[in-house]
Amino acid sequence: MKHDYKEINICLAGNPNSGKSSLFNNLTGLRQHVGNYPGVTVEKKEGSLISGKYKINIVDLPGIYSLSATSEDEIVARNFIIEEKPDLIVDVIDVSNFERNLYLYTQLSELGIPVILVMNMADVLKNKGMEIDVELLKKEYGIIAVATVASKNKGTDDVIAAVIDSYEKKYPVKNFKTDYGQLISCEIEKIESIIFKDLLLVNKYSARYLAAGLLKDDKFVFDKIQKSPVFGELEKQVLQSRNIITDKYEDSIDAVFADRSYAWIHSVSAVVLKTTSQSKYDISDSIDKIVLNRILALPIFALVMYTIFKFTFTLSEPVVRWFESVMEFLSRQASGIIPEGLIHSFVIDGLIGGLGGVLGFFPLILFMFFAIAFFEDTGYMARAVFIMDRFMRKFGLHGKSFASMIIATNGCAVPGLMAARTIESEKDRLITLMVTPFMICGAKLPIFALFIGAFFSAKDGANIMFIMYVLSVVLALTAAWILKKTILKGQPAYFIMELPPYRMPSLKGILLKMWERGFMYLKKAGTVILLMTVVIWAGLTFPKANTDENMSEETAAGIQVEQSYIGKLGNFIEPVIKPIGFDGKAGIALITGLAAKEVVVSTLGTVYSLGEVDPEDTSSLSERLQKDPDWNQLKAVTFLIFCLIYLPCVVAVAVFFRETGSKMKWLVFLAFWTTAAAWIISLIVYQGGKLLGLGG
């Protein structure tokens, strides 16, 4: 049945931590999806709701403090508001922090687009012993305001009603202007009068916004008027007006504007905010005294990280096993239906094998995202980033780089790389993207387990594993330091971050966040890994080798691998990897490992004539490797070091490419830098070890 809804396009804007996402979830429920803004890596959260004869389309914008955007996500939010021109802007503010949050409103309200002020966290304000007079705010200042407690889904219907009423122009429209004082207002009007001469410009943008932007030397606004016929006249007037303002206030223009805006906000606050009772004790400061304590901060941080990993790996285990059994069941069912042959091999080894690999990893990722979302929503993660900033800075990294590295360690490089988005400085972000793949992700663990189990005693094995973890961190930090001193020179960006108050997270919020991130991982990783698994299957299956019917299945599989395209490629690269102690078989495993690192183990299993090998069950392959005279302890350690450093898997590479703005030069650099570093360090270890008589 076709409905003729009236469509209303709105966006949710507001400061970070104002509860925008909670309101978005309340408004849209599960009718939401996450995409990307064109050309950038910032996520675009969209959703919709139906109310009577209206369909409200909602975009949840990244958090911003003002329209003077600096980081990539802020630029996206600013551009969306200015260029896309939604029917309405819903400005969500944390009313318990009324003055700071209202600053953005002063800018949004000058864009010529109706703004609804959603005063969220009214309960927190009450706990502070205060109340806001919403009616007075409407009456005195003409602000369309609604009070909500988004965490408890209170006031959501009022927001919907305000959106519809505002769209239908049921509110008396007041031409809202921030009172910047007589002098600044007069200068703005002078500039506005020139802008009004260009009708095309005025039809597209608010003259007042442009005038204020020109006075503040906003590059974004200057770009808008570059081609205007009144550009010359404007430039002259702006210069004159700026001189008048700075002469009077003896400060920078943007500071004067902010000062005047805050003065107006303070006057509004004095009228509408009322103290009703004694403020309740704020626990955040007390918690911070312990959590950010100079002695306790690091041990508490270590404990939180341990909890995240313990939670992820312990609790996800039964679900991972269940997923594996489902895939095995599917494989058995398909085996029974599809007759032996090429299609059988394609479906079982290629499709189900590849898909199973991805799905097997998915529950673990979900558990990790759940744990991380929990600590994020409590407010602790912002503190963790702050705690690590000082240490990371010594190596030219930003505190926020730490979040990427910790997510990649034992987890997955893909979400680790995606976490680098919040770093404002492009150079700091690039360095983080370059070094995050050095961490030991969950996919590298089976390789370590295989070789350490095969060549070292349990006691030595634990030491080797520990050394590998230390090595990965040392490598990442050293690489960051080298990049910062060479091609990505410069001081790390300043660290300025708002620490949200500690809050009890809601289960719904955590689950939605977990699913949103997990689904993106599943979508991207699933498609690429699946494709690569099929490519590798074809590379190992063709051309068909001449095998004898009397041969055992294992021997035939070994010959097939040797004579396949990938097998030939392994032999081709052997001269390059011989100086670091590897032969063609190891070469094949390293090539296939580019699809996913776990594939190194299963490829070695096939190459060593074992047919299909479960990456978790490596005992039999372990014995084969042990017996192979071509392998020894030195070669095993060298192989592990190479696997640790060389080019990350194809999914991580694809994400790296996207996160670096799809610039080919960085992709080429990553490929060269990781592989060259892997080869050189392996050469030093192997040849050095031989000189010392190790690995005999």
């Binding site: 403090y65 003002s66 003077s68 600096t70 318990s96 922090n97 009324f98 003055e99 700071r100 600053y103 400060d251 943007d254 500071a255 902010a258 000062d259 805050y262 955040s284 400061d285 911070d288 005294k289 950010l292 304590n293 100079r294 901060a297 912002a382 503190r383 702050f386 900033d389 000082r390 800075r393 505190g399 404002e424 960006a493 300043y494 660290f495 300025i496 971050m497 708002e498 620490l499 949200p500 108050p501």
Partner: protein
């Protein structure tokens, strides 16, 4: 007047001016409400890094940024 890193932690402080700080970060701090005359309160100082209360928000700053924020004590 002194940089935030050397200010008396227990005193009521008033922001006076920015030192040598890049435009982007200065703009961010202004947007957060750090304008001349604004009261700020140091919540914690550890290894030169500072957390402060500004307009009801807790802001974390690294040592270098904190060193570029010039404050005076309220009674000065």
């Amino acid at each position: 007047m002194s940089p935030l890193t050397k200010a008396n932690k227990n005193a009521s402080l008033i922001f006076s001016a920015f030192g040598n700080i890049v435009d982007r970060d200065r703009q961010r701090l202004i947007d957060m409400g750090l304008v001349p005359g604004e009261s700020i309160k140091i919540l914690q100082q550890a290894h030169g890094c500072v957390t402060l209360m500004l307009k009801g928000s807790r802001i974390a700053l690294d040592h270098k940024t904190a060193g570029e924020i010039i404050v005076r004590e309220e009674n000065q």
